[in-house]
Amino acid sequence: MSGESSPAKHYGLHAALIALLAVLAFLLPEYHHGVFARVMVLAVFAMGYNLLFGYAGLLSLGHAMFFSAGLYGAGLTMVHLGWGVLPAFAAGLVAGALLSLAIGFLALRTTGVAFMIVTMMFAQVFYLALFYFGSWTRGDEGLVIAQGQRRLSFAGVDLDLTSPVTRYFAALALFSLVLVVTLAVVRSRFGRVLVAIRENEERTRMLGFDAFANKLAATVLSGVICAAAGAAYAILFGYVGATFASIQYSILPLLWVLLGGAATTLGPLVGTLLMFYLIDSSGDLLKAWLPGWNLSSLGIVGVALVLLILFFPKGILGTVRERWVRWLP
């Protein structure tokens, strides 16, 4: 958190992680290869959420709308207007930026629980609007983006984003970019002001900082990153549906970040990855250990979270930082 500590360590660690993920592309079995591509995109969503929740201390319960703004910004322009991958991705980012600017402007007049409720309410409006405009969005059923459209051609290179390897590296490229941006923001003066606002808003104001303007900037940055994740999700996995705008997708990034460690740059990836495998494997485990009980795997997630909050309230990397690796950003 302190801009004092050595940049070489910080950037070195993050570069090593990116290199590891690149190597894993060639080592992972097919199923896990696909999981990792998906998790990296969702981790971008979590990183965007973490910026606002972890660093600026603003707990939003409406981030599904920013993810969906990107998802639909890219998806609708591809399906209805036949746009290519890059302009569609840009449309997703613009949608996320405009929406987060408007929502931030209104919701940041509130704090604490009221902020949670207001953001959740706006997200619900967004979700219902997807059904209202069902003739374009096709609501729950959603839209499938044609395989032929999910190609990226530039400078004589033709990338088929539906092929697993290309998709993995596209996800990794976005993940890496956002990871480095997050690290740079966290280490920057702006990052220090966000943490200061989280810790003591009045004191920050009395040091000459415009708390509202800084929080609004954080909201828009967070919104754009989440929208980037949504747009990438639409393009890489070819499906756009209203489920992604539901309350569940506002809660998930909060859980991922809490699990991995709020206000740690690498926590979002760790949390997203673990939560994915926890849900994925708990079904089989429950069947094997408690046959006939017919329990939902979500119960396992709930129990895991209760244990986490009780024993590791700072999440995995938050605890690691507190106890062992003080310089962890």
Binding site: R192, E199, N200, L207, D210
Partner: protein, 244 residues
């Protein structure tokens, strides 16, 4: 001297909380370079008064001007950028951040505003050295002793490079040795900035103040040089509760 504009001036300044007239029509001015002490019994409205000046709370009526321009409607963060720094009566440091980061926030503000030049680190170290905290820069503010947290609070105020530094009971909780250093520090600061200090410790007030304003029940009871105030019967009555 009469031609010089006061650095800070209030006119008919009032703050009412419901029926409570915490500040009730204060006309007040401080000349550039002055060290002004504001004293008065508990509940006299001292903290409310300086909070109005620094913009933490809005006045019910009256105007405030800083260096000749009206700042009554200016939000607090803009007043800080204009050069008014406030150190909190109840220590309000960022207790989960290092001493370095606490002061860095103040320094980066002045760098952004162009009121200071140079490197962040140099500015931070200068403020920490001035308050004797240079060897504690990596310590988490919340783990510092109370006295050191008070000094960190002052370091943040200094690092803002204020033209007007408002100190709200800065020596509260400091040891005698620390108070001595503190008095020397304020004298040093006063060479470049105007200082407005709320203080209960009379030896500190007498050692530092050029002039003293006495508040009682939200009104100015007396104002003058330290010797005049010491001799003022009304002040003695307010403090000692004796019938005049």
């Amino acid at each position: 001297m009469a031609a010089v504009t006061p650095l800070i001036a209030t006119s008919g300044l009032k703050k009412h909380f419901g029926g409570l007239r915490a500040v009730d029509g204060v006309d007040f001015s401080v000349m550039p370079g002055e060290v002004r002490a504001v004293i008065g019994p508990n509940g006299a409205g001292k903290t409310t008064f300086v909070s109005l000046i620094c913009g933490r709370i809005e006045p019910t009526a009256g105007t405030i001007s800083f260096d000749g321009s009206d700042i009554t409607k200016l939000p607090a963060h803009r007043r800080v950028r204009a050069g008014i720094a406030y150190t909190f009566q109840i220590t309000s440091v960022f207790s989960n951040l290092s001493a370095y980061d606490n002061v860095a926030l103040a320094v980066q503000r002045t760098l952004t505003d162009g009121r200071a030049v140079g490197h962040l680190r140099e500015g931070v170290m200068a403020a920490l050295s001035a308050t004797g905290l240079a060897d504690r820069l990596h310590e988490i503010a919340g783990s510092l002793s109370y006295g050191h947290q008070r000094l960190l609070e002052v370091a943040m105020g200094l690092a803002l490079k204020p033209r007007l530094l408002i100190l709200d009971e800065p020596t509260q909780g400091l040891s005698d040795g620390e108070i001595e250093n503190f008095v020397a520090l304020v004298r040093e600061v006063a060479r470049e900035a105007t200082v407005l200090i709320i203080e209960h410790n009379m030896p500190v007030v007498m050692a530092l103040a050029d002039r003293i304003t006495v508040l009682d029940a939200g009104k100015v009871l007396a104002e003058g040089a330290p010797d005049e105030i010491r001799a003022d019967a009304a002040v003695q009555a307010a403090y000692l509760g004796a019938g005049a």
